[in-house]
């Protein structure tokens, strides 16, 4: 029973990884490719490592596998945010059907105020356009 469950988890996880790779190859835009990379990659690796935890079925190994999963889940949004921000500030070409660009509107509305002292407004809902 454990073997069947672990095998199913492994196959599902590797299929997610394959979908992520195909999406990385075929999607039209850097930010759209990041969607495939971070989400599907993390889910695929999580499924495979969960299969490892199921196969071993002892405390230390299961904790190690779950530690890897938690670490991947914690670091994937941070890395995606940094890459998306850097890519947007590089001036990458967006996909031609992209119809919402809130970060670009915010940057063109308030261009290049110096980062010196001054009344700092409370942080609003920014950076929404630079994620996944």
């Amino acid at each position: 029973m454990n073997a069947i469950f672990a095998s199913a988890l492994m196959i599902v996880g590797s299929l997610f990884c394959l979908v992520a790779a195909v999406g990385m190859l075929r999607l039209p835009d850097t930010l759209i490719r990041m969607h495939a990379a971070t989400k599907a990659g993390t889910l695929g690796a999580g499924c495979i490592l969960l299969a490892g935890a199921v196969v071993a079925a002892e405390l230390g190994t299961t904790l190690k596998a779950i530690a890897v999963i938690v670490f991947l889940l914690l670091t994937a949004p941070v890395a995606a945010h940094l890459i998306g921000r850097a890519a947007y500030h590089q001036g990458i070409a967006l996909f031609e059907k992209t119809w919402i660009d809130e970060l670009g509107e915010a940057m063109s509305a308030a261009p290049a105020d110096p980062p010196g002292p001054g009344p700092v407004p409370e942080p609003s809902e920014d950076k929404q356009g630079s994620g996944t």
């Binding site: 492994m10 996880g13 590089q90 609003s124």
Partner: protein, 107 residues
């Protein structure tokens, strides 16, 4: 290396390793021909996650749980590499749009 006959776990782990290898190869194409540096960083990040999954699947295949330590260490190093590369990208070419690294984009 192969512990016993073709059990279900060993067959599934072999199929998993093969599919992960195909995934890494497909991502490598994007790494080679990505038009911008950001595409290459995204491809490198995905390759790192796929290698972590590969090491986890190999831990199942070889029935050796010490490969999970390798997965932990590789995940940490890959995250640091991704952060360093994207910070480098943000600092090197972000001057054209007037973005200091700590500026908040207040509307």
């Amino acid at each position: 290396m192969i512990p016993d006959g073709p059990t279900l776990i060993s067959m599934a782990s072999r199929l998993t390793l093969a599919l992960l290898l195909v995934s890494v190869a497909l991502t490598f194409i994007r790494l080679v021909r990505g038009p911008r540096a950001a595409d290459r960083i995204v491809a490198l990040d995905l390759i790192a996650v796929l290698i972590v999954a590969f090491v986890g699947a190999y831990a199942i295949f070889a029935e050796d749980t010490s490969f999970l330590d390798v997965a932990i260490a590789y995940a940490l190093i890959a995250f640091l590499g991704t952060v360093a590369l994207s910070r480098f990208l943000l600092r090197s070419r972000g001057r054209a749009s007037g973005i200091p690294p700590s500026k908040k984009d207040n509307p």
